[in-house]
């Protein structure tokens, strides 16, 4: 298991370096003249242009710019923002990351718990009333856009019933219950599509495993239903866990819209703003941070899958 862990760690770091390098060059290629972009494509003197270019370090060769950026990155320094006051990006991220992570992690938790419960309920009794309900609702939740569900939830649970705040994020240090209330609707909105996806995956995995020879053998040996169910879950879990890890990436992307809808200053809204203004250091920082989280989640997924299924370690 140790060798397996070290190998996964090395590949995770390599992936991080690869993505960071690629993003740097792609961002500079996509915004070939960031100085003109910052000036708003209108008249400015050559002196102003050159001064701005030098101030941002864009007068250096691209490889020098990359090295300067990368070596600072290794120390956790993402540089300063190009738009507005030149404040360190790390300060902005320190405010925004907890917002996004709060709703994404709660969304993931809601998705995993609800998905698992519904998947098991449907899987152990295929063809039952519950199974048919879950299958039918999965079609509805796949078909209906997530933002529409969010609006409906917001209107009923926040505006009409007043159970949750309509908008905004409350820091946990200010009001723990208020924080939980403020992230519940966006988290649930993010999670709903994933819940049915996990439920369906788990249900199918359980149904497949349930009809396999080894389960029949377990039953024939007289194992109690609870013990058989544990074997079933162990067999079906990898599919559901893989979906959860993939959904993490999806939730991070989904946060862009949800944060705007719920007026939350997370990294989703920062990504939108940075892209609109050509704020390259912010784009790079957000990409690196997002990839970092995805790599961490995938790394943990590999470890969990390796722990559940020893054959995965060999592969």
């Amino acid at each position: 298991m140790l060798k397996f862990t070290v190998k996964r760690l090395v590949s995770a770091v390599a992936l991080m370096v690869f993505v960071a390098t690629g993003t740097f060059f792609m961002a500079h290629k996509a915004i070939p003249d960031p100085v003109a972009n910052l000036f708003g494509k209108v008249s400015f003197t050559a002196e102003q242009y050159e001064a701005k270019k030098a101030q941002l370090g864009l007068d250096q060769p691209i490889l020098t710019q990359f090295w300067n950026w990368f070596r600072h990155l290794l120390t956790g320094d993402f540089g300063t923002t190009w738009v507005g006051a030149p404040t360190p990006i790390i300060k902005d991220l320190a405010v925004r990351l907890p917002v996004t992570l709060s709703i994404v992690i709660l969304g993931l938790a809601v998705m995993a718990v609800l998905g698992a419960i519904l998947g098991v309920l449907a899987g152990i009794r295929p063809g039952s009333w519950g199974d048919r309900m879950i299958s039918a609702s999965s079609v509805v939740f796949f078909a209906v856009p997530g933002f529409l569900v969010s609006i409906a939830l917001l209107w009923v649970l926040a505006v009409k019933l007043g159970w949750f705040p309509v908008s905004g994020y409350i820091k946990p240090e200010r009001d723990l219950l208020g924080w939980l209330r403020s992230i519940t609707l966006p988290a649930v909105s993010l999670a709903l599509g994933g819940v049915v996806m996990i439920a369906v995956q788990l249900r199918n995995a359980i149904v497949t495993a349930n009809s396999s020879d080894y389960v029949r053998t377990l039953r024939a040996r007289g194992l109690p239903p609870r013990a058989v169910a544990l074997h079933l879950l162990r067999s079906a879990a990898p599919a559901a866990i893989t979906i959860i890890a993939l959904m993490f990436v999806s939730l991070l992307s989904g946060a862009v819209i949800l944060e705007s809808m719920f007026n939350m200053p997370g990294i989703g809204s920062a990504t939108k703003d940075a892209s609109q203004t050509g704020n390259i250091p912010m784009i790079l920082a957000l990409t690196v941070v997002s990839v970092l989280f995805v790599v961490i989640v995938n790394f943990l997924l590999d470890l969990v899958l390796g722990w559940i299924n020893p054959k995965a370690r060999i592969k």
């Binding site: 008249s43 404040t87 309509v166 905004g168």
Partner: protein, 519 residues
């Protein structure tokens, strides 16, 4: 030297005469008070608006959008009341010399900043010197030659030439006071929390900049008893969800004040929910024809061309749109108080074509105009109208922050705008027609002998500026200096138990304008 009562100071500040009305300050309006006894309104005040704060530096406080933030945490020397007149807050017993060159006032005792520093005359001078160099406040003090602390409590401002709107400008957001200790810090401008003495204290730990700002009550404030609210929240709601989100928050009780733009059905919703709607005409909408001398776009030097551009702007048709605020007042005048003798430009394409032909531009001409954010739709509509007579305005997209920087820096000869209407006509003249004024980026007044003469007469008119103000208004309308389509209103929607006294010229109210509802 004469001692000014508030009324006298105000009358002087307005050059003893308002352009279209008299100077009649109201004590009640000037010093709004709350009767704490029996207060049954909300425990806190929660405001939802669309402008965030990027910093707390007092030198940036000239913005018409930042008033609620600044006034909550800083005490000002002066503010403007509901009758558009300045009144002393920290400044007391203001005296102005007969020649208008020396202002003397006493510093209110008991003003203590959150860092423990006590305010005295020297502290006020430190602040005034900072404000006089501030990016957003320097223009207020352009005619002030120096500041001096005469003793521990008395401050003197010496002017190089009389400035009838000095106190008005100071009251319009140009005189907030920060702790002198904080001002001395080299990091002051980057501070993430203010060091003020205002009625509320910014709670940085509880806030989430730039969307949620939390302020706790300043129990040590010299007027703490006046504020019944235990805390203040300001929620910033932006982007495409803005209007709906803010109203949903008000419906759900998450907020109790909303700075709103009108939308269909808002009145019905307000009535159904028992909200009060307070209106404030604080801006005009349309297009600024800044290059009236034709320095960059030659055809614009001809008044016939500028009139033609106005004649194809269908002002009345704009009101037919379902999404246009019915409170919009169609006019082509830049003064807040509209002169009924000055007619609005008719919509007449044929006459516009004839004027362009007379001016030698029968085939039209083309030029670039900026577009961005709020002004996209305005500019697109105007460009479409101008195209009817062959005048092609090519829209160049800018980000909203770049847009504002560039149009006021004189980079664009023509641009769509929504600019302030001032309750004080002297302020209107100063901001729109004097050299160096922000809203006069191409300095057209200096290039127009008639206007130069009218402005000189205006400043010499002393107490009687009505006639000369009327002449200025007629001149700029006849010469088509602007492409104003309407005066627009800002709406403040308040839940039960609160009310606000609007001030013309301020898009958003100062915190001091909020009162428990007397209903």
């Amino acid at each position: 030297m004469k001692r000014l009562t508030k009324a006298a100071a105000v009358c002087f500040a307005a050059s003893a005469s308002l352009a279209f009305g008299g100077c009649s300050p109201s004590d009640e309006a000037a010093t709004p008070t709350n009767d704490d006894s029996g207060y049954s309104g909300p425990d806190h005040i929660s405001i939802t608006q669309s402008f965030s704060m990027n910093g707390w530096e007092i030198g940036q406080s000239g913005s018409a959008f930042a008033g609620t933030f600044y006034s909550a945490v800083y005490d000002p020397l002066y503010l403007i009341d509901g009758a558009n007149e300045p009144y002393g807050v920290v400044a007391q017993d203001t005296e102005i010399s007969e020649d208008g060159l020396t202002y003397t006032f006493n510093v209110r005792p008991g003003v203590v900043f959150t860092d423990g520093t006590e305010l005295d005359a020297a502290g006020v001078v430190t602040n005034l010197e900072y404000l006089a160099a501030g990016f957003g406040t320097a223009s207020t003090y352009a005619k002030v030659a120096g500041f001096a602390a005469l003793d521990e409590d008395t401050v003197e401002m010496t002017l190089s030439s009389p400035d009838p709107v000095l106190l008005y400008n100071m009251g319009l957001g140009g005189s907030y006071l920060a702790s002198p200790t904080a001002l001395a810090s080299p990091d002051y401008a980057e501070a993430t929390a203010p060091s003020g003495s205002g009625p509320y204290v910014f709670d940085e730990a509880a806030s989430l900049v730039p969307t949620d700002y939390v302020f706790t009550r300043n129990e040590n404030h010299w007027e703490a008893d006046r504020w019944p609210w235990s805390y203040l929240e300001i929620h910033v709601v932006q982007d495409f969800t803005g209007a709906g989100t803010a109203q949903n928050m008000l419906t759900a009780g998450d907020t109790n004040v909303m700075y709103a733009s009108w939308r269909p059905g808002l009145e019905d919703d307000a009535e159904a929910n028992g909200w009060e709607m307070v209106e404030n005409y604080s801006a005009w909408d349309g297009v600024m024809i800044a290059d009236r001398a034709g320095d960059v776009i030659e055809p614009l030097a001809d008044p016939k061309v500028r009139l033609a551009l106005n004649l194809v702007m269908d002002r009345e048709a704009r009101l037919a749109g379902a999404t246009v605020d019915p409170g919009t007042y169609v006019t082509n005048q830049v003064f807040a108080k509209v002169d009924p003798d000055v007619e609005s430009y008719p919509y007449d394409i044929e006459q516009a074509k004839a004027l362009l032909a007379e001016a030698g531009y029968a085939d039209g001409f083309s030029f670039d105009v900026p577009a961005g954010g709020y002004f996209d739709d305005t500019m697109a509509l105007i460009a479409q109208e101008w195209a009817e007579v062959g005048v092609i305005a090519n829209m160049v997209q800018l980000t909203p922050d770049v847009y504002n920087q560039q149009v006021f820096a004189g980079k664009w000869p023509v641009f769509a705008a929504k600019l302030q209407l001032y309750g004080n006509p002297m302020k209107t003249v100063q901001d729109y027609f004097t050299t160096g004024a922000m809203n006069n980026p191409f300095d057209s007044s200096a290039k127009d002998p008639v206007m130069t003469d009218l402005i000189a007469q205006f400043y010499e008119a002393g107490a009687d500026t009505d006639a000369i103000s009327k002449q200025i208004n007629e001149h700029i309308t006849a010469e088509s200096w602007f492409g104003i389509t309407a005066h627009t209103r800002d709406l403040y929607v308040l839940a039960d138990g609160l009310t606000v006294k609007p001030v013309q010229g301020l898009y958003v109210p100062n915190f001091q304008q909020f009162l428990p509802d007397a209903k």
